[in-house]
């Protein structure tokens, strides 16, 4: 931006005078010596202290009980900081999981089981050709309906809760707790803050690394930001955990166990953030760790109603809208490639056939891998895409097929039966949760990384490193699992 176009006459005429000015400044700098910067800072601090002292009157004696200090003593304590963090997050996921089950079932009953047949008969009544009906209803509408019914309830509960925690002032305390670990990993402590931002959206998290001054530590923060689960991936984790992990245990502890599974994935993400930061800072991004001061803001009583309103409008609806925008064309594409045959098999069938061996090797399947490719623009549509492909390719019946056919009021059972018809096991579910944490960032984030780093090389590293790690991780888990099951 310094080389912006300028009138050459002005520059050339002003140049000699300006150059002499700069020379003067240079020689004066020699005279005043290196202490100038310190003296300047000193002058600022002295004046600030003097002026503040005249304007502020402090209370005569300290209040006996300082609530902020007492809360901090617990939440940032070396002993209790981490358990408190763990408990708080588990509580939030537990509320989300147990709270979203009922509205989720209700939404899928209305949108999928009731409205789909209605739309089909409407299309028939208007004598649409079968392919148009399939394209519009089974493709675009059904994908959107699934996005809404699968994602809306958990988001509508999780986002307000998380925002309340944020408003309260808890996130900097998390950063404070993690700072020591980041320093040990050779990264900047402020990375904890960009990591927190990543829990909302990785693209925003990548932009927020601007608060880190050292380019080396900033790159580390950018590359590892993807290990923070984003808006688009929370619903996947929550849904799969409650469908498969929660169902392993008796119903009365299912919610807690599912919540613990999600917290486990989050913790794994934090661990990977440290591990990869450590690795990078000891190999390609070697250098000194900068120091910084982190301000712990006062706890503020959250404005509950306003928070609920804005987090519903700003986060839930925006994320949902983005998912719908991507789901509509994705649904169309999914329906098309599932229904256009080449040599007797649909395109999707061919693709799944190609991907299946790789998928099975890492404990997933071809459908899931294809869904991840389709969902590169938005992580939000991974689950709906998997559902669509499973239904269309394996021919799982009864999903909105009409009243009476495998009709379930409980959406969980319906969903689980679809997944099981696709040959899913608990291993598939575990690996899907792992792969959802450790895979390439969405295309928006990739583009943001390029904009922030200005380097295709680092963008490629940030994109491909997690995919490689995800494949390695799921492969390892699968082999161990199968070995253990063999005995």
């Amino acid at each position: 931006m310094t080389d912006s176009p300028q009138s050459p006459s002005l520059a050339s005429s002003a140049s000699p005078a300006l150059e002499s000015l700069l020379d003067e400044a240079r020689s004066l700098r020699w005279e005043v010596g290196t202490s100038f910067h310190e003296e300047l800072i000193e002058a600022i601090y002295t004046d600030a202290a003097r002026i503040a002292d005249r304007a502020v009157r402090r209370p005569d004696r300290k209040p006996r009980f300082d609530i902020d200090r007492s809360i901090d003593r617990l939440l940032t304590s070396r002993l209790w900081g981490f358990p408190a963090m763990f408990l708080l997050f588990t509580l939030i996921f537990w509320i989300t999981i147990s709270g979203s089950n009922i509205p989720s079932g209700w939404l899928s009953y209305v949108l999928v089981d009731r409205l789909t047949p209605l739309l089909r008969s409407a299309a028939d009544a208007l004598s649409f050709p079968w392919w148009l009906r399939g394209f519009l209803v089974d493709g675009m509408y059904l994908a959107t309906a699934w996005v809404v019914s699968v994602m809306l309830p958990p988001m509508a509960i999780f986002f307000p809760l998380f925002t309340l925690l944020e408003d309260f002032g808890y996130l900097p305390r998390v950063a404070f707790n993690l700072d020591r670990l980041f320093r040990k990993a050779g990264a900047h402590g402020k990375q904890a803050l960009s990591m927190m931002m990543g829990y909302g959206c990785n693209a925003a998290g990548v932009v927020s690394t601007r608060i880190i001054d050292s380019p080396r530590e900033r790159l580390i923060a950018i590359i590892t930001n993807n290990f923070s689960l984003c808006n688009g991936r929370w619903p996947t984790q929550i849904l799969i955990a409650s469908l498969f992990i929660g169902s392993l245990v008796p119903a009365y502890i299912a919610g807690v166990v599912s919540a613990l599974a999600v917290v486990g994935v989050v913790m794994l993400g934090v661990f990977l953030t440290f591990a990869v930061s450590w690795f990078l800072s000891r190999t390609v991004l070697r250098g000194e760790v900068s120091t910084f001061s982190l301000e712990l803001p006062p706890y503020r009583p959250p404005r509950i109603l306003q928070t609920i309103y804005t987090s519903l409008i700003d986060r839930t609806l925006i994320v949902l809208w983005r998912a719908v925008v991507f789901a509509l064309p994705a649904g169309a594409v999914i329906w098309l490639i599932s229904n256009i045959p080449i040599g007797g098999t649909s395109i999707a069938g061919h693709l799944v056939g190609i991907l299946d061996p790789v998928g099975l090797l890492i404990g997933l399947n071809g459908v899931i891998l294809l869904a991840y490719i389709v969902a590169i623009p938005a992580n939000e549509i991974v689950i709906p895409t998997i559902l669509m492909f499973t239904v269309l390719i394996t021919g799982a019946q009864g999903v909105g097929a009409g009243a009476g056919v495998m009709f379930e009021t409980d959406s969980e059972t319906t969903l689980r039966s679809i997944f099981q018809s696709g040959g899913w096991t608990v291993l598939t579910a575990v690996n899907l949760m792992l792969f959802s944490l450790v895979h390439n960032p969405c295309s928006t984030t990739i583009y943001t990384i390029y904009k922030e780093t200005g380097s295709w090389r680092w963008t490629a590293v940030a994109t491909l490193l997690p995919v490689g790690m995800g494949v390695a991780l799921t492969f390892f888990v699968t082999q161990v699992w199968r070995l253990a099951a063999g005995f």
Partner: protein, 294 residues
């Protein structure tokens, strides 16, 4: 539709109209509508003092706010209309100083310097005044059209602190408005102060830093004169001298490339044509960097 006779018959209405609270009802939040503004307002301050909350309550936008430092790292822009003038307001990243070199600090400083805001509103945490003043004093070196918004007064009260806003205003030489933006307290007064400074009804005589050592003050004064001679229209020669003495390459570069010279002539032409509002130099936008560079 004809207020003249009515006002003459009811003197109480006149008193109401001069009241800040009445004027606040003339606030029209314009959201992201940013056409034809008369004045540009920059919103600066330390991290986590409620800049985004002030921004939201003026523009009606819902820029994400949260209780932690470092949320806003890019500029957010919005608009509002007040007292017959249209304002564009720019929410800058929160910074502790303007001296160091991270991208967010550069975004903030470049806008205050090159974006030439008509008023820079510095939002400060009333319960941590001393530390917040460090930034205020640095901004007062760059520009004298400043309004200090003493936010989070509710927290200061909770801690039993008493703040003397009038004394602070006298010491700093700029209007000081106590506020609690989360409760919308002080927003009408803030609007009135912004409009006073923007329309030239209030003239600021900002506090300037003093250095103890005579060697330093001589160097600063000498260089300031040189800068003034080279670029007579520049509004803040002393600050440029300070930065040059501090070895600030960014400012030396801006001097060399003619960026500062253009700034000076723009501000001179603006002063000359102050009767013709709505004519902001358009390079305010392009000189402020949106993307970070690594």
């Amino acid at each position: 539709m004809n207020p003249e006779p009515a006002a003459a018959h009811t003197p109480s209405a006149e008193a109401c109209e001069s009241c800040a609270l009445f004027r606040a009802s003339q606030l029209k939040k314009l959201g992201v509508i940013l056409e034809d503004w008369d004045h540009v307002i920059a919103l600066a301050g330390n991290p986590n003092v409620g800049k985004s909350t002030v921004f939201n309550s003026l523009t009606g936008l819902r820029q994400h706010t949260g209780n932690w430092p470092g949320k806003t790292v890019t500029r957010a822009e919005g608009g509002f209309e007040y007292g017959g003038s249209r304002y564009k307001i720019v929410d800058l990243p929160g910074t502790y100083s303007l001296l160091s070199t991270s991208v967010d600090e550069e975004v903030a400083r470049d806008f205050i310097l090159f974006g030439q805001p008509d008023v820079t509103v510095v939002v400060a945490d009333a319960s941590r005044l001393e530390r917040n003043l460090n930034l205020v004093l640095q901004i007062l070196e760059i520009t004298d059209r400043v309004v200090l918004c003493l936010n989070l007064m509710d927290e200061a009260r909770r801690r039993g602190l008493e703040l003397d806003a009038r004394r602070l205003a006298r010491d700093l030489g700029v209007p000081v408005v106590p506020a609690a933006a989360r409760q919308r307290e002080g927003i009408p007064e803030l609007l009135a102060a912004i409009s006073d400074v923007a329309e030239g009804r209030a003239i600021c005589r900002p506090h300037r830093l003093r250095t103890e050592s005579p060697v330093l003050s001589r160097a600063v004064t000498g260089l300031e004169e040189k800068v003034r001679a080279a670029l007579p229209d520049l509004p803040n020669p002393r600050w440029v001298a300070l930065r040059l003495l501090d070895g600030d390459e960014r400012i030396a570069e801006a001097l060399r490339s003619g960026e500062l010279a253009r700034l000076g002539s723009a501000s001179a032409s603006r002063a000359a044509a102050s009767s013709a509002p709505g004519e902001m130099p358009e390079d305010g936008r392009e000189t402020t960097r949106e993307e970070g560079s690594a």
